[in-house]
């Protein structure tokens, strides 16, 4: 079989029998933990505090002896020891790249550094996914991506170069220019967030372009929003573009993707298990939940050299099912329905993290406001909208035109420019609370 006929990027490890996959994970875990203990003061403190030593990891189940790593610990470590904390294992001078998580109001974004090998690995994880979804060297791949400090599709861009595809970067183009280039160049693969894939489709319609007839797109690869695994959304994207839509998911803390949908599309993405251990735990007890039950993703990554990521609590809600759900032959398990949401109260709105408490902090800056409520909805199954409903104090009614504009601006400024709808309510319309307030209503459908 020639290389391009292989359905797998890495046939040897993607189809490993489960027992051998577990054995491989154990070897990697042992070395990773030993390295983290030796080279990252952050991890050494964490493990010393929990009275656990690397040599106690003798079986894969021993991973549960290791303490969790949380984003809060990471952020606190960065704040104590700016700029990167003492969890990086290499001197800063060895790094070739710097990226940031999408920040949220009141929280510092995480800063990450990576070396050459880290970036080569980051790229390779995307290769598992792109190859697995049928992308080949003959494809022309278009990235609708802004190429900034957010890690986004950066690794995917290098992946398609590595595969030998014609790679089209569209950094600062308008939506119309993007649509035009996709058609003009005969692009066969489009990469975007699900929301933006739909927006490009709608723009094409307005431009009088029928992407199904005028374009040659056969695959749309989405990432960055849970909507990418919602069947109704995928169907809309596929009907617009005339190609199959496949989901991927990653995070800045990992630097790349850890799950991807294969060409067989069994209803969720496969985990790249030779590079990650993905535990699914009860968020309250920290105990594993069985296959088919929802829990919190806790990830251990074998790939990043600068930042050891071991038992990192992602707060992503997932439901793991056995690999046998899919007929493609991969032995990596499947997250049914992709990333299902968040286990805590953080809300992801069009790619930006929103915390109710941060919204409250902004609203409470305006003394004219008596009560408020945050309402999140999903329009047409895709576009998330966030609305802040406001009740004014009885003697402050005249200030509304000014306050309306100011509040919208302040909320956007505190959330990376995210647009908030701001609405005025009548006196007494919003609920009042005693003790714990519930001012957030998330009316999006739960999948």
């Amino acid at each position: 079989m020639s290389a391009t006929e292989s359905p797998y990027w890495n046939p040897k490890t993607e189809t490993l029998p489960k027992d051998q996959l577990r054995a491989l994970q154990l070897v990697k875990l042992q070395r990773l933990v030993a390295r983290a203990y030796e080279q990252s003061p952050f991890h050494r403190r964490l493990y010393d505090k929990a009275c656990v030593r690397p040599e106690q990891v003798k079986t894969l189940d021993d991973i549960r002896r290791l303490p969790f790593m949380t984003r809060e610990d990471w952020m606190a470590n960065q704040a104590e020891k700016p700029l990167f904390g003492d969890l990086i294992t290499r001197p800063e001078s060895d790094a070739i790249r710097y990226h940031l998580t999408s920040g949220t109001s009141g929280r510092q974004p995480l800063r990450v550094l990576d070396g050459r090998k880290d970036w080569s690995w980051i790229t390779d994880m995307w290769c598992y996914g792109f190859w697995g979804f049928g992308i080949r060297p003959t494809d022309k791949v278009f990235f609708a991506f802004s190429y900034g400090s957010f890690i986004g599709f950066w690794g995917a861009h290098y992946c398609t170069e590595k595969l030998g595809c014609l790679t089209l970067a569209s950094g600062n183009m308008t939506t119309e220019q993007r649509v035009k280039q996709i058609v003009e160049m005969g692009v066969t693969v489009v990469c975007a967030t699900p929301t933006y894939a739909l927006r490009m489709g709608q723009t094409a319609e307005k431009m009088g372009i029928d992407l199904r007839k005028d374009g040659k797109v056969r695959r749309v690869i989405v990432s960055g929003e849970p909507a990418g695994s919602i069947p109704a959304v995928k169907k809309m994207i596929e009907e617009m573009w005339g190609g199959k839509c496949g989901d991927t998911a990653g995070m800045t803390e990992i630097g790349t993707i850890m799950i991807f949908e294969c060409d067989h599309q069994p209803g969720g993405p496969h985990i790249i298990e030779d590079h990650f251990i993905e535990e699914v735990l009860d968020p309250d007890t920290g105990n594993p939940v069985p296959y088919g039950e929802r829990g919190e993703r806790v990830v251990t990554s074998f790939g990043r050299g600068f930042i050891p990521l071991i038992r990192y609590r992602t707060k992503d809600l997932v439901c793991k099912v056995p690999h046998t759900r899919c007929t493609c032959g991969r032995t990596g398990d499947v997250y049914e329905g992709g990333i299902l949401g968040r286990v805590d109260d953080m809300k992801l709105i069009r790619g930006t993290n929103v915390y109710p408490r941060a919204v409250e902090a902004v609203v409470r800056e305006h003394h004219e406001v008596e009560e408020f409520q945050i309402v999140i909805t999903r329009v047409d199954n895709v576009q998330d909208e966030i609305t802040v409903k406001v009740e004014l104090k009885p003697d402050q009614q005249d200030c509304w035109p000014r306050l309306h504009a100011q509040l919208g601006k302040d909320l956007a400024d505190a959330h990376e420019g995210l647009r908030f709808n701001v609405e005025l309510c009548k006196q007494g319309e919003l609920p009042r609370f005693e003790l714990k307030a519930k001012r957030l209503q998330d009316l999006r459908p739960q999948y």
């Binding site: 890495n10 051998q20 491989l24 290499r90 090998k117 690995w121 990043r304 050299g305």
Partner: protein
């Protein structure tokens, strides 16, 4: 990585192709550690070394500290 290794991380004997990949990686690693080569050689050899590291690592021929180059 031990240059004398005969098995992969799963304990399977290395195939001839796998041996060649590991050998290439080892040679590139040695070359990329040299400080007396012109920048054009050092930088490009490092890039090549990293790509070979990727192949060997993904094929479970070794699991070497990723941050080190």
């Amino acid at each position: 990585m031990s240059p004398k290794t005969n098995t992969d991380l799963l304990g399977r004997p290395l195939t001839a192709d796998e041996r060649e990949l590991l050998d290439l990686y080892g040679r590139l690693r040695t070359l990329s550690a040299r400080t007396d080569l012109p920048p054009v050689a050092t930088a490009n050899v490092k890039q090549a070394m990293v790509l070979l590291w990727n192949a060997c690592n993904d094929l479970a021929l070794m699991y070497e500290e990723p941050g080190c180059d």
